[in-house]
Structure formats: C-alpha cells, structure tokens
C-alpha cells in the first residue's frame, strides 16, 4: 500500500477510528494486524521474510537475556540471519552477475544463474532496525522485549515500515508500552505535516521526476541538459524521501507516537559532514553507531580511521541498492569527508563565507546524486566527460529552461527552507498570537490541499526509497 493513494487514506481512517476506540492492550495488537495488512496488501508473501526476521531476532534477544554468557552466539545468529535475508533477496543476483563477469574475464564458463525473487519492499529498513535492536540488547542499552506483540510492532509499525525512519528500540519500545492520549494540538500538527508530505510528493517530487526521468533517458545529453537533470533529481529525491518521512511522522503522531526526524534541511549543509548530519539522519546515525564505531571509529590510527570512514560510507552506498554506482556514491562521500578533515585541519574551512560553503556542498551533493541516479557506469563516465564548451546555444537554452522549471516547482520547498532553515528567526508564524497562528496554519493547509488538487503530477510514482 502506498501513502499517496486513496486506499491508504481509507485504510488509515479505518485504523484511526478503530484504534482510538480500543484499550491500550488491544491497541497494540490491532496496530500490528493493521501493519501486516498494510505491508501484505499487494504481495502477501512479503510477510514471510518479515515474520522470519521478527521471530528470530526476538528469540535471539530473549536468549541473550536468559543465557548472558551465550550473548555473542545469539548476536551472531541474529545478525547473520538478518544479513542472510538481505543477501538472498537483495544482493544474490548482484553477486552472481559479478561472479559471471569475473569468470568471463578468466575465460571460464559463466554460471548464468539468476534468482527469480522479487525484492520485498522496505527489507533494508526493517532488517537494519532489527539488527539495531539486537545489538542494543547485546550492549545492555535496552532490555530484551518479552512481548512478541510489542517487538513485532516495533519492526512492523506501518507508518515507518517500508522507508523508515530506521527507529531505535530505546525510542520506540517504551512508546508501545505507554498510554496514548488524544491531543487536538498534536493532531493538527500531524495533519499539517501529512498535508505538507503529500504536497511534496505529488506536486514537487512527481512533477520534477518527469523532468529527471526524461533527461536521464537520453543516450547522449549535452552538458547543460544533463546538469539540469541532475538538479531535478537532487530536488526530486529530497522532496520524495522527506515527503515519505513527513507522512510517516504525521500518521504515527495521529496514532500517538513520535518518530524521529530524518531530515534537517540538508541542502543548506555547509560541509559534507554537515550534509550527513542533515540527510537521512536515521541511517547515518545507525551507520555511525552500529558500523563505524564498532570498527574502531576515530579512536585508532589515522590510516585505520580513514579506512573505517570510507568503508562505512561504501557499505552505506551498497545498502541503497545492489549496484556498483551506489558503492561509488558511498565511496565518493567517504572520500569527501576525509578531504573535509584535511581541509578543516588546515583551517581553510573557517575562512569561507557561509553562502560559499552552502553552495559548494550543494554542488558536491549534486555530483553525488549523478552517481546515485546513473546505474550504467559507462554512461556515468561519459556524463563526467561532457564539456560545457561543447554545448550549443540551443543546448544551453534547453538546460536553462529545465532549470527554471525545476526552480518553479521547488519554490514551496525554498520558501519553507528560507523560513525554517536559513532564517528561523524570520519565521513569523512562531511570533504570531495563537489565534492568528491558527488562521495562518489553516490557510496554509487549504493552499496545500488546493495545490495537490490542481498541480498534482500527471504521472505518479512510488517513493524512490521503496526500492531500497
């Protein structure tokens, strides 16, 4: 089930009405059933790996609590189980395909085996969430959850199941035990958040996706057209993914839960490290806590630390998809962070004006998104080899036209960014008296809904991060 569908709206209204009429004990069970309905709506068999992952990790965590001296064994079983699930569904064909290429290089007979397995949506998200829980139990950071219903709900909670945020057990599990109260203020903010999410998805992301998809379908784009496409994808991926997060957070808030923030205006980041503090925060903090720090983090030799940093980003890239371009994208960011450390050590970073730092980081992010979007490595090399000097006047005109089109559709994002990201002190909404603020928020809500009705994209697509 996808968020931006009538099916979801009806489903959610039914869930909401039923949920609030139940007692706490039944609320969790009902939410769990609703989450399974949500996830198995189109492909019920997707539930099988989800159930397998849930039961194994829940049992392993309990095993750790019951037999503390065998903690490491349970940890290994659980983590290997989760990784095996990912490897089978997500990476097996990538591995087999590359093995075949290697065999051909050595003049051996390729195996030519391909598993005919559909990738269950959100598998990367819920396996990481499960791994995080098991490691936390292993580290004694959270107690093992005895209730299978609560643990299953932690893994399966439908607002964040398919594309995150990748929640932490310490944040979510207590919420499943607490009483929830109806708060009209919270509801209003949740509805506003959901409206903004729907707007970002169907008006901004989907309209800009048409431009990006068209340009990335060209076999030999010119320099300005290609980079207009990169700009389009840069806005699209942010609008799309942050829209999902907003709808997820809004839905969860209406049910009485608070999900973590996943984005903090990433395109005003002043450095690569700052970008990753603002982009997909739940993944970057997960990578930091469960991969980078266990590898030794920064408390080791500079060489080892560099390896840890670049390795973590390479794996983070691979997490996004079984394709070399994602690995390259991860390596690119890892190397940028290394370069930033050197740059900072020389003290150059401090001397640059804020705007230049933001612009520079934005350009670096755009270059990264080109690697992310372009799956064909040959084409990627050709893209980087394009010269602005080779572009004709017509190419520039077309590139500028597409650039403007992207800017027009991004205008609401820019306004939002300006008031809440760049100059939060200018955010007059916060300074308004309560009644005026209510009128302002209602007007914005009406404008967003009107925008959805009149500017919704002609074609609609799944959220980009569903494929991961």
């Amino acid at each position: 089930m996808i968020f931006h569908s009538l099916t979801y709206i009806v489903f959610f209204l039914i869930v909401l009405a039923t949920y609030w009429s139940l007692s706490l004990r039944w609320q969790n069970l009902f939410l769990l059933v609703a989450s399974y309905v949500f996830y198995g709506w189109q492909h019920p068999w997707f539930l099988l790996p989800l159930w397998a992952s849930t039961v194994v990790d829940w049992a392993c965590a309990l095993g750790m609590a019951r037999w503390p001296h065998q903690r490491r064994l349970f940890l290994i079983i659980s983590v290997c189980g989760s990784l095996a699930l990912l490897a089978t569904f997500k990476y097996a064909n990538f591995f087999l395909d590359n093995l075949d290429k290697l065999l051909v290089q050595f003049h051996a007979q390729p195996w030519q085996i391909a598993l005919r397995l559909a990738l269950p949506v959100g598998i990367s998200f819920y396996t990481f969430q499960s791994i995080g829980y098991v490691v936390d139990v292993y580290r004694h950071q959270v107690p093992a959850e005895r209730s299978l219903i609560k643990y299953s709900l932690y893994v399966t909670f439908f607002p964040q199941l398919v594309a995150g945020p990748i929640e932490r057990a310490s944040h979510m599990l207590p919420q499943f035990s607490d009483h929830r109260y109806f708060n009209p203020e919270t509801w209003r903010s949740a509805l506003g958040l959901m409206l903004w999410g729907f707007f970002k998805k169907v008006v901004i992301a989907d309209n800009i996706a048409i431009i990006a998809n068209k340009i990335f379908a060209l076999s030999s784009p010119s320099f300005p057209v290609l980079w207009a496409g990169v700009l389009a994808f840069t806005v699209q991926i942010y609008a799309d993914f942050s829209a999902y997060t907003d709808i997820a957070r809004g839905s969860a808030r209406l049910l009485g839960f608070e999900l973590m923030q996943n984005f903090l205006h990433p395109y005003i980041a002043t450095s690569p490290a700052d970008f990753w503090r603002r982009w997909h925060i739940s993944l970057s903090t997960w990578m930091r806590d469960y991969l980078y720090i266990p590898l030794g983090g920064s408390r080791c030799s500079p060489a080892r630390n560099s390896f840890n940093l670049v390795g973590t980003f390479a794996i983070s890239g691979l997490w996004h998809g079984a394709s070399w371009n994602f690995v390259i994208w991860g390596l690119y960011w890892g190397l940028l962070l290394l370069a930033e450390r050197g740059w900072s050590a020389l003290g150059w970073k401090r001397q640059l004006p804020w705007l230049l730092k933001v612009a520079g980081t934005f350009v670096l992010a755009c270059i990264g998104w080109l690697m992310f979007r372009e799956h064909d490595l040959g084409q990627l090399l050709r893209d980087f080899a394009l010269s602005p000097a080779a572009a004709s006047k017509r190419d520039w005109a077309i590139g500028i036209y597409f650039g403007f089109l992207v800017c027009i559709y991004s205008l609401p994002l820019a306004i939002h960014l300006f008031f809440s990201g760049v100059f939060p002190r200018w955010n007059f909404e916060l300074q308004l008296p309560e009644r005026s603020r209510f009128i302002f928020e209602t007007t914005v809500g009406i404008a967003l809904f009107m925008g959805i009705l009149t500017l919704r994209s002609l074609t609609t697509a799944d959220f980009i991060y569903f494929q991961f």
Binding site: P184, R188, K214, A217, A397, Y401, I446, M450, T459
Partner: protein
C-alpha cells in the same frame, strides 16, 4: 482549553476539505483546445493528410513524399505514443473541422492499435487528448467510460468531489510556458524553443532501456477483433470520415522484421488482421498492409528490437511508401493481400 483546541481541529479539517471543494468549480476545467494543427491545415489545404504516431514521423519525410507522389500537398499530424483515441479526435476536430477536403487521409498503425481503445489514454496522453477536444467528447466518454466504471464507488465519489484530472494539465502548461518565457528573458534566445525541447526527446535519442512500452508488448495479449462502437474508436473514425466526405486509407506499418528480414506474426494476429481488413473494406475504406514489404530491411531500423526507422533510412523509407501508396491512392491498383 481542550474544547477550544478540539474546535480548532475541526475547523482546520473542515476548512481544508471544504474550501477547495468550492474553489474547484471556479477554476478552468481542462486543457484548452489546440487550434494550431487546424489552422495549419486551413492554410496549407493539403491533398493528403497522414495521421499516426512516432513510427510514421520516423519513417516519412512529408516534403519528400509530396515530391515522390506528385498528388499535391501533404500534411502530417503525428504525436509520439498517439493511438486510436487521438486519431479519432484529430480526424473529427482538426481535419473535418478545418473544412479542408483532402483526397485522402491515411492513418498509419501497428498491431491492434486501431481497435485498442484504451491504449495510451491516461496520464500525459490524457492531456494530449484533451487538447484535441472541445469540452467533453461523448464518444470518448462512451468508449473510455469503461475505465471510470472500473473505479470503486469511493474513488468515483472522490473524483466527483475533487476532479483532480480536470485541472492539472492547464496549470502545468502555464508553468511550462512561464519557464519558457523566463528562459527567453535571461538565457540565450532560441526561436521555437518548445519544439527544440521536444526534439531532444526524439525516440532516436533515447536509451534503449527507457523506451516507452511498445505496442508490440501491449499487443501480446488475446486479440479479438470487434467493431463495437461502444468498445473502440474505429467505427467512429470511419463514420466521421464518411460524414466529412473524406476517403480513408489505413496503412499497417511493417514493424522491425528481425535479422532474417522475415516479419512473422502469430495465427491469432493474422486472424485479427484479416477480420480488421474485411471490416474496413466493407466500409468502403482502403487497407494497405506493408508488413510483408521486404524493402523495409532490418538495418533501416533504429535498433534491432525497435520498430522506428532510423534517421539514416528515412529518405529510403519515404520512397518505399511513395511506391506502395501511389498506385492505390491514384486508384490504379488494389492493395495487395498478404497470405499467412
């Protein structure tokens, strides 16, 4: 305090849901009718009008065909991805409405596109169809109405309350025009920029894996010929042409024959084409089948698994079409019948 907050919540929800409901009916409903092709036809007064999709655009140079045929001016009205709904509306609202009296209107098609009513009628194609309509077209409503019938009652209510599709093309076109205007103010001045933008997305410039779903793939399903006017546009195309006194010629385009230059089609498609042909001929129209025309060789096509003629072979393809069409359009010969 809490009751006030509840009241605010209710006002918020009702305002967000109801205000757009009212404003909905003040806004323009659909993409405006595109008069340009009609005016062009009136200015050019062509003798032959070619209607089709990107296949005909890729294969025929109208100026060269005009010279080769020597039967007067030729106009081509094409649109990538167009199919029977678009051809019906083009014939009715552009060709017949223009008042021109061409000697022939030739509609080029592949596979079962003449009777596949719903093929490419949604999303961006819907916007294009709207640009060919004045208001709602009753035939389109009748033939494509099936799609609306498939909606759940809830979807129908939502569509009725908030007719999302009615507005979108209009505003998106405005945004696009605004971007063109802004570009012309600050960027390089290029004449006919919208056309140039479309040109860069010509099928010849697209990556193989991103090509839109081909009619061949879409046709890979059970093929049953039907001339039911409630189910497809073909009877309406013929009727509109008859009413306008325009002779119709349907040209079945040869898809890429494959490396051995032998275009093969299954028994089902053969049976379908035979029925289609019989029906068209009983209506007094001409049916030309070029699928057996071996002069359209595999190397003339854009790619091994693509049905578009490559730019390098356009001239040759135009000449072949001229040779095939001339005797039939001049009334000197009957179209050849292909045997399975």
């Amino acid at each position: 305090m809490k009751s006030r907050q509840v009241a605010q919540l209710l006002v918020f929800v009702l305002a967000v849901l109801l205000v757009p409901l009212g404003l909905n009916y003040w806004l323009p409903k659909k993409r405006p009718f595109n008069r340009k092709p009609l005016e062009r036809l009136q200015a050019e007064q062509p003798s032959i009008i070619l209607i089709g999709d990107s296949l005909v655009h890729a294969a025929i140079d109208p100026a060269l065909l005009e010279k080769e045929l020597g039967m007067g001016r030729i106009a081509m009205i094409w649109r990538g991805g167009a199919a029977s709904a678009a051809w019906y509306l083009t014939l009715k609202n552009q060709v017949v409405a223009s008042g021109v009296k061409p000697r022939w209107v030739c509609i080029f098609f592949t596979y079962d596109l003449l009777t596949n009513a719903s093929f490419r009628t949604t999303a961006t194609y819907r916007a294009f169809l709207e640009s060919l309509m004045h208001g709602e077209d009753p035939v389109c409503q009748m033939v494509l109405g099936d799609a609306a019938q498939r909606q759940t009652p809830l979807q129908r209510i939502a569509s009725r309350l908030y007719p999302l599709n009615d507005r979108r093309h209009h505003y998106q076109e405005k945004i696009s025009r605004f971007a063109f205007r802004t570009e012309s103010l600050v960027g390089p001045k290029i004449k006919g920029l919208p056309r140039r933008v479309n040109e860069i997305f010509d099928v010849a410039r697209l990556r193989q894996e991103t090509l839109p779903q081909t009619p061949e793939a879409v046709a890979a399903r059970s093929l049953v010929f039907s001339a039911d006017p409630k189910k497809n546009f073909l009877p309406h195309i013929v009727e509109v042409a008859k009413a306008g006194g325009i002779p119709l010629c349907f040209v079945r385009v040869r898809p890429n024959p494959g490396a051995d230059n032998e275009f093969e089609e299954g028994a089902e498609l053969w049976a379908y084409v035979a029925q289609l042909r019989n029906w068209i001929e009983t209506q007094g129209c001409v049916f030309i089948d070029t699928t057996g025309e071996k002069r359209f060789r595999p190397e003339m096509y854009l790619r091994p698994d693509d049905d578009h003629i490559g730019p390098w072979a356009k001239e040759e393809a135009t000449k072949i079409y001229a040779e095939v069409l001339r005797p039939i359009l001049e009334g000197r010969a009957q179209p050849a019948r292909l045997e399975p």
